[in-house]
């Protein structure tokens, strides 16, 4: 779950990591009031879950509360990369002496957190030369010890005998604490700025592990998915809309991708990716078919290789949905695996002969989509 910048900064603040004075607002009058309260000049930042806000014109400066109001008015009408701007962050404009980069994320191959730091921040980290980036894997059993943070600061070329050096050690320590305690996938500060003697997080990008949200009850919730994708997710389905005309349902991400590949190979165009996961019952199957039908496909392919999924469960669910709602387009089903004979018998009763092999089912579905 990605968090808005203002949420990330609230989190930073709670862990003693310095952020600019500021407040989240949702209308121009509030923006003016906050500018008056914290004192102009201010910066007004669009809160959208996308990078490149600056380049898209989503960040404005104002020298007076009136200017802040006008800027807010303009920003609140914008869309950035398809996302409407509905929330703004109004903050004191910082004196920026130097911009740095700092983040902690997960190094999948090493199976460890990795601290990434650079004395050259402010731009996209991918654009910074490799030799200017410090990467330090962190042993989770050891944690972020002082010596690790100090050595990273040394490698950044910043003296430990300066206020900046000492502050940076504290910032790194706080950032790691947030990363661990909040089950983060990513905590990123770009830029982290030197402002006078202070070190301040001018931006905050925080992503929380979706699987750990159940134990992060005090964090605010941000919904990034479309309503359709959310409905699917709540039923344990993984659904992505594509632009073709063959509806696809399979069980498992890999086999679903394999099904898309096979359809494309035979000249068909998938309308969606739908992974029904490990154990979808009648409700899930009904919802899956509803999502697929909403894409107005010309044909549907259901490709099930049952392991933990039982073929008779899938067949029962499908038969029941077919009887209740009818399915207005031809359906091709490939059904093998756990309890396959029972599943096939159930499908026969509703007039469907299941296929043994994916290639035959895929070819048939492509043929039907072109009929």
């Amino acid at each position: 779950m990605k968090m808005f910048e203002y949420m990330g900064k609230e989190l930073f603040s709670k862990f003693g990591l310095p952020v600019p004075k500021g407040k989240m607002v949702t209308n121009p009058d509030e923006a003016a009031a906050v500018a008056a309260e914290i004192g102009a000049p201010v910066v007004i930042k669009s809160q959208v879950l996308s990078g490149k806000r600056g380049k898209a014109g989503g960040i404005k400066f104002a020298d007076t509360p009136e200017e802040a109001k006008a800027a807010a008015q303009e920003l609140l009408g914008m869309t950035i990369q398809g996302l409407p701007v509905e929330i703004l962050l109004v903050e004191q404009k910082l004196q920026i002496d130097k911009e740095l980069y700092l983040s902690i994320t997960i190094d999948n191959a090493a199976r460890k957190p990795v601290l990434i730091a650079s004395a050259h921040g402010g731009m996209d980290i991918e654009e910074v030369a490799e030799e200017l980036i410090i990467k330090k894997q962190i042993d989770v059993e050891l944690g972020m010890q002082g010596f690790i943070a100090r050595d990273v600061v040394r490698k950044m070329g910043i003296s430990l005998d300066t206020p900046h050096g000492k502050e940076l050690v504290k910032v790194i320590t706080a950032l790691y604490k947030i990363f661990i305690q909040k089950d983060a996938d990513l905590v990123e500060i770009n830029p982290l700025v030197f402002s006078g003697d202070k070190v301040i997080a001018a931006d905050a990008k925080v992503t929380i592990d979706d699987e750990a949200l159940y134990r992060q009850k005090d964090l605010p919730r941000v919904e990034e998915r479309t309503a359709t994708e959310k409905a699917a997710h709540d039923l344990g389905l993984s659904f992505v809309e594509l632009d073709g005309d063959i509806g696809v349902m399979a069980n498992g991400a890999g086999i679903t991708m394999g099904t898309l590949d096979a359809l494309s190979y035979y000249g068909g165009k998938p309308a969606n990716f739908l992974d029904a996961g490990g154990g979808t019952g009648e409700e899930g199957t009904a919802k899956a078919l509803e999502l697929i039908l909403a894409r107005n496909p010309k044909a549907i392919i259901i490709n099930i290789f049952g392991g933990i999924t039982r073929c008779d469960d899938v067949a029962n669910a499908f038969a029941s949905v077919k009887k209740k709602t009818g399915i207005p387009v031809p359906v091709v089903i490939r059904l093998v695996g756990t309890n396959q004979e029972a599943g096939r018998a159930i499908l026969k009763e509703v007039g469907i002969e299941a296929y043994d092999f994916m290639q035959d089912a895929a070819m048939k579905a492509v043929e039907l989509s072109k009929a």
Partner: protein
């Protein structure tokens, strides 16, 4: 021979009294797996399918030689259960559970490394040394003994390909699911190295998918292998930037693309099948040489 597990592997089932634990215990027994114990806190002393149930893995280890454990434990408790098995000295821990928080996974992997144990998964179907031992959830009838090693990131796609191999009479030495999560215990290279050493394995099937760089890393080792490798990479037609179910299967910033993986594998000398059902044909061709 086979790799990691065989007919002598003594297994403990963690969470044996749950619905999935019970169902798959029966399936594993039917396949011939030597399940010597189960564990379920508070249910110690019970017997399930003739198998003694213990309150803890330590208690099971006091009464049996345990070589491997398998977890049918809900995600919030999986870290505790995996660490319990590792701490008790179990050297192979198979974590079927999906949706485990990634920080828990990192903690388990760090400890596993310290005690020099193998974790298979999380979010895996498990491991099958065909005809000898099945630990996990794949359907029994699709796994027959033979000389092809299979290593995969994805579950049902593995059934698809192994099912096709079996349908054409091509058996398998060992089939391993590394798991679909970002942080898992094994790498392709860990497994390929073992297949390379295993006298029973004559060829290897590698089943990958878009996203990440595990297949590119594997290619580095495939160059050195004497045994032939056939690969299939799922997701050729997936649009960039979209999550395709597995946390790993996302293509971003030009990394982990289908083309990049195919190129790396091909340059390393692997044969890449364009579709999953082409794999048996290529394997037959290679083994006939």
């Amino acid at each position: 021979m086979a790799i990691i597990v065989d007919e002598n592997t003594n297994l403990v089932v963690q969470g044996i009294t749950g619905k999935q634990g019970l169902f798959h215990t029966k399936q594993m027994l039917a396949y011939g797996t030597k399940i010597v114990a189960g564990s379920s806190p508070g249910k110690g002393g019970a017997t399930i399918e003739g198998i003694p149930v213990y309150d803890s893995i330590r208690a099971a280890c006091e009464n049996h030689r345990i070589d491997a454990s398998v977890l049918f434990i809900p995600a919030p408790f999986a870290k505790d259960a995996a660490l319990e098995a590792l701490e008790a000295g179990v050297k192979v821990v198979v974590v079927i559970t999906e949706h485990i928080p990634v920080h828990d996974e990192m903690a388990v992997m760090a400890y596993a490394k310290r005690v020099d144990a193998t974790v298979i998964g999380p979010n895996t179907f498990g491991i099958v040394s065909s005809g000898k031992c099945k630990i996990g959830i794949p359907p029994n009838q699709f796994f027959i003994p033979g000389n092809v090693g299979v290593v995969a990131r994805s579950g049902t796609l593995t059934y698809e390909i192994v099912g096709n191999l079996t349908a054409q009479g091509i058996g398998q030495s060992t089939v391993i699911g590394m798991g679909g999560d970002r942080v898992v215990g094994l790498t392709f290279i860990d497994v390929l190295k073992q297949f390379e050493k295993d006298p029973e394995t004559k060829a290897v099937v590698l089943i990958g998918e878009i996203g990440g760089d595990a297949e590119e890393d594997a290619s580095m080792y495939i160059k050195e292998m004497t045994k032939p490798v056939v690969a299939y990479i799922a997701g050729k037609t997936a649009p960039p930037g979209k999550r395709m179910g597995h946390a790993g299967a996302i293509i971003e910033r030009g990394k982990g693309t289908y083309q990049g993986k195919v190129q790396a594998l091909t340059e390393a000398g692997a044969r890449v099948a364009e579709l999953p059902f082409e794999v048996p044909g290529i394997i037959k061709e290679i083994l006939a040489k």
